[in-house]
Amino acid sequence: MEKLNTPPPVRRISPDKKSKPAKPSSTTAASKRNGKVSVKTGRSRPKVESIERMRTVDLGIAYGGKSAVNGVSLQIKKGEVLALIGPSGCGKTTYLRSLNLLVEQTPTATRTGKIMLDGEDVDKLELTELRRKVGMVFQQPNPFPMSIFDNIAYGIRERGSRKPTRRVLKPFVEEALDRANLLEEVKDNLSHPALRLSGGQQQRLCIARSLAVEPEVLLLDEPCSALDPRSTAAIEDLVLKLRSEIAIVIVTHNMQQAQRVADRVAFMYLGDLVEEGTVTQVFDKPQQKRTRDYVSGDFG
């Protein structure tokens, strides 16, 4: 792979890749499933060493004085997927958007508490630097109105003042698409408009676009809510494949999805973190009444 003229992306995934048992197992699980989703068992999930990437300490977010998130402390680790569940308006999306400080785009938003990335307060980081390290994928797929190639290359091109050529970028683009399980489907059409892809492909393209800038943490804000079951399964496979490489936080309305993809689950209600634990703890032996009511479908 050629050298980039710009600060080269940190390439720390290649060693991971060799020792990655997740990929074959998750794909076979997907093919075995044949579109039918077995809820409880999910896909085989190899144990990966988990390393803390992010941590929030007593994080509170308020919009114009009205509190949306109250004192939430959570750890986000590489090697395990954290799912945020809870009814609409419980602050889980606000919490997610605060992790890359996207919430501070809103002029009325105020923040209390601390957000740490790799042991360092995010306020000490350059905003753009933080957002490159903490990628985000939105509820609605939002590919840019450009070609597939340019969508993926966008983040790499924008990080330096000198723009690398297409030839230099190509391996990076293909690798990002490959990591997002999309390369096979689009490798012959890289110059096609990204908006012509199907919804599920668009969402995987958005994930690939985030992966192209080599994030340490990936935030997924209800990534499947606009997708059909097949595309949802593809995204879930992808999440399970990526969990050994980067820390993933996923917000979801869908409790089956949380059980399928998550290692830890945090239940939020009216801005409070009610309960947090492993999937079994939260779904099978919830400690709090509100959690029990929610996961058993009494409200939500």
Binding site: L102, Q105, E129, F138, P145, M146, G155, E158, P193, R196
Partner: protein, 342 residues
């Protein structure tokens, strides 16, 4: 079905029965007729102007008509004074100074206005404080509606004298005194006022376009670690390029057809400003086609003169048509990636 009008003109037209028996069908027919009618009217107008202009082009030769040689103003006078006998009509004219003046003034104004309007629109949409934005948007729309003659008045009463007194020195006058007289009416004033005239409508169009670009695109860029300014340029403005082209086409059409204001401030001399004159180039007058038409309208009844003026109009008509087509073509190209799956 089966509803008939008891009163009104349609109930008395038996031929419409069957063809247009429902209100919807009647409305369709009416609107269709209006649309076809206006198209036919435009077609006739184009044919008429071209037909009237034909002798002027034919007698000079098409390329020579646009070429240079002689003094265009004197040639116009020659045509005006041509003998009454149709066999000895004078047609000779070389309109290069008019063509050059049109391109120079229109092109200059459109280029400056495009840059200006994109920058202002980006500021209004993305960076202006809420209160300022709320004030600016209606002001811009108001400015877009100001009649051009008002700009012309301000130009001729304020800016032209200002140029005359401040920029046009004796030295500048002397350096070109055998070629042209500098009065303060010049291409810079013309381009300046024309820019001010066309920029508001462009700003209004581009602001609308930027506002209609989905927020999720700039959010996506910002989430990738791109700052707001870059996200605006690389995603939002990029996505709004078809509208920017549309705005530029509209502004060019307006600038091409602007006659009164330019006639007041551009100097009204068929002169080709010479870039070799250095800075004085910017103080030299010019005369685009549209003001040339207005200024010579008193001689339209003299056949060869009228035909010459029609030829000016034909050039404007043709350029406007070409402009629309080019704009459409560029927009198609730019829309390639914006199209959602069909």
């Amino acid at each position: 079905m089966g509803i008939t009008l008891r009163k009104g003109v349609f109930s008395r037209l038996p031929s419409l029965k069957g063809v247009a028996s429902t209100p919807d069908q009647r409305a369709e027919l009416m609107l269709g007729a209006l649309a076809v009618g206006s198209l036919v009217l435009i077609g006739f107008m184009i044919a008429f102007v071209m037909g009237e202009a034909w002798p002027s082009f034919a007698n000079n030769g098409f390329f020579k008509w646009f070429g240079w040689g002689g003094n265009t103003d004197q040639q116009l006078e020659g045509i005006f004074n041509s003998p009454g006998d149709p066999a000895s009509y004078v047609y000779e004219i070389r309109t290069f100074p008019l063509l050059y003046g049109t391109i120079l003034i229109t092109g200059g104004a459109v280029i400056i206005a495009t840059v200006l309007s994109v920058l202002s629109a980006v500021f209004i949409v993305e960076f202006a404080p809420e209160a300022l934005r709320r004030a600016l948007e209606p002001i811009v729309k108001l400015l877009a509606a100001v009649p051009s003659v008002i700009y012309g008045l301000i130009g001729v009463l304020v800016i032209v004298p200002f140029f005359d007194q401040v920029f046009i020195t004796e030295g500048a006058k002397e350096s070109v005194q055998y070629v042209i007289q500098l009065t303060g009416s010049n291409i810079t004033v013309a381009v300046f006022i024309l820019t001010i005239m066309i920029a508001p409508i462009m700003i209004a169009i581009v602001v609308n376009a930027l506002n209609s670009v989905p927020d999720s695109w700039s959010q996506g860029a910002i989430a990738l670690g791109v700052n707001r300014w870059r996200a605006m340029w690389t995603v939002v403005v990029r996505a709004a390029r078809p509208a920017i082209v549309a705005a530029a086409v509209l502004a060019t059409a307006r600038a091409l057809g602007e006659a009164i204001m330019l006639s007041m401030v551009s100097g009204s001399v068929s002169f080709s400003p010479n870039p070799l004159d250095g800075l004085i180039f910017f103080l030299e007058p010019a005369r685009p086609y549209a003001p040339a038409i207005v200024e010579n309208s008193e001689g339209l009844t003299i056949p060869p003169f009228g035909q010459t003026i029609y030829a000016f109009a034909a050039v404007l008509l043709f350029s406007a048509g070409m402009l629309s087509f080019a704009g459409w073509f560029i927009r198609q190209k730019l829309r390639k990636y914006t199209l959602t799956p069909t």
